[in-house]
């Protein structure tokens, strides 16, 4: 019997009172109410490679410690990302009636993964980002200049979503006035009906097909035009990607939209929240704005915008002393590994001037490591540099609201008040 969503909502008095075998850290409500951290702390202490025999996602292993996660992530010949085996999240891909069977290189193994990734990787390579930086900075400045000082506003809607959508539109060279479509498609891609973003999987399917048709139009315009540093032109011109089947074309587009949108959006919001919860760190930043460079990776560790990636064992294997069987579902909880006190000093604290801040799991490791990591860091660096020029304090004035998702660690609303210098 799969656990129902209603049962999942029942919360125990204390995490320690739950029998170990009943712990199901994939329960999305634990992320919405932000209590999952206590469960991970217990698993890291008592059962770091934990088997959950029963959940609505089926049985799965949770890998919760930093070094065990790296070991799985770098063992792609044993731990597969293949969509047909279930793909990359605890919720199996292709498992829902009415869903599209999307194909994307994040959910492929070698050699196809390598070919497709290499084709699109240059758009987010450091040299191309140098060209994008002034455009992103100008657009970030314009967003911040448009905000009212001293009034309550929603930081998520007016800044985090706006900035990441604008960046995405820049990368795709997407028609500027229609860029809100990108936000919608990003939300729809990761939505299930219970989130309220779509009403049914059929609706999701319809909207994503519209997305594909829209991009097909841009593709057709650009395929015969030489050059173009935008992602559509690159995919249309590369031998590895130009003859993609329809669901692969759509899948890879959505991968880049979600990858470039849902993630950094939440790090932008999460950084504001973390600085408000740690006023001493905020003061350090005001006193020394050069700390932005070490604060950015710390924000990305702290937020961990994607909580996990999942693999499927292609053969029997061992992780942290536990025997994994061929076919088992293995979930690497980056959010937990990023709080592993045996690897990260004072892992449960947000510290903007850490000695080694880049040593975190948020981008994953191995061949599937986040391709857009430098773009994420660039956007965060720019927005913080521009915030510090304009505002003394971005003050959180109400409770944040969080996304109902066990994959995207999302902040859906963050009321703030801006204070000028």
């Amino acid at each position: 019997m799969a656990t129902s969503a209603t049962q999942e909502k029942v919360l125990y008095a204390s995490v320690d009172s739950i029998p170990l075998h009943e712990i199901n850290v994939a329960n999305p409500y634990l992320f919405q109410n932000d209590t999952v951290g206590e469960y991970f702390t217990r698993l890291r202490r008592e059962d770091p490679v934990h088997y959950c025999a029963e959940s609505r996602f089926g049985p799965y292993w949770s890998v919760t410690k930093f070094n065990d996660i790296i070991a799985v992530d770098t063992n792609h010949k044993v731990f597969s990302s293949e969509a047909k085996l279930g793909g990359i999240s605890v919720q199996d891909m292709h498992s829902v009636e009415g869903a599209l069977e999307l194909e994307m290189f994040i959910a492929m193994d070698q050699p196809k993964h390598d070919q497709q990734r290499k084709a699109v990787s240059p758009v987010v390579a450091p040299s191309n980002l140098l060209l994008l930086e002034p455009i992103i900075r100008e657009r970030a400045g314009a967003i911040l200049d448009s905000l009212p000082v001293g009034e309550e506003i929603d930081w998520v809607k007016l800044v985090s979503v706006e900035l990441t959508t604008m960046t995405l539109a820049t990368i795709f060279d997407f028609p500027w006035d229609e860029r809100a479509k990108l936000t919608r498609w990003s939300d729809v891609t990761t939505a299930s009906p219970e989130t309220g973003i779509v009403e049914s999987f059929e609706q999701r399917r319809e909207e994503l097909i519209q997305c594909a048709m829209y991009f097909k139009g841009l593709w057709d315009e650009r395929i015969d035009k030489p050059g173009g540093n935008d992602l559509i032109s690159m995919m249309a011109h590369s031998p590895a990607t130009r003859d993609m089947p329809f669901l692969e074309f759509l899948g890879n587009l959505l991968l880049l939209i979600v990858g470039g949108n849902d993630t950094t959006r939440n790090s932008i919001s999460g950084g504001v929240l973390a600085l408000n919860q740690n006023p001493g760190e905020y003061q350090k930043l005001r006193d020394n704005p050069a700390l932005v460079s070490s604060m950015i990776p710390e924000i990305i560790r702290w937020q961990t915008p994607l909580t996990h990636m999942r693999r499927t064992a292609l053969e029997d294997a061992e992780i942290g002393g536990k025997q994994i069987r061929k076919g088992d579902k293995v979930v690497m909880w980056y959010l937990s590994g990023n709080r592993d006190e045996t690897v990260i000093d004072r892992a449960d604290q947000f510290i903007i001037d850490r000695e080694n801040p880049r040593h975190h799991l948020s981008f994953g490791f191995g061949i599937h490591r986040c391709m857009g990591n430098r773009l994420a860091e660039l956007q965060l660096r720019i927005i913080w540099e521009e915030i510090l020029k304009r505002f003394r304090f971005v003050e959180v004035v109400g409770e944040p609201e969080r996304l109902l998702s066990n994959l995207v660690r999302g902040i859906t609303r963050l009321p703030v008040k801006l204070h000028a210098h």
Partner: protein, 108 residues
Amino acid sequence: MINVTFVSADGTRRSVEIDEGLSAREAALFNSVPGIDGDCGGVCACATCHVHVDQAWMDRVGPPEEGGMESDLIQFAEGTTETSRLACQIPMVPELDGLVLHLPELQH
């Protein structure tokens, strides 16, 4: 001690000493040579310690093992050439005393 010279993209040369048995990644990081990030901690998991081995040293360093993790990762670094290696996979052995490594402008 093993001597390694890192040549930055702008031509700046930095000569450093490192204990035998460590890697070229550590030679850079422990001596504050800019241009190497080494995000994964030196376990061949991220490709942010990409370097170009000086042509004169390529025979002694050799290419990454075919089909191994280093080859799998290095293909996604920017501006790779036939002399590309991950610094964490170059052990500091006496035969490499005097090694010259060229740093890319930026790590992906």
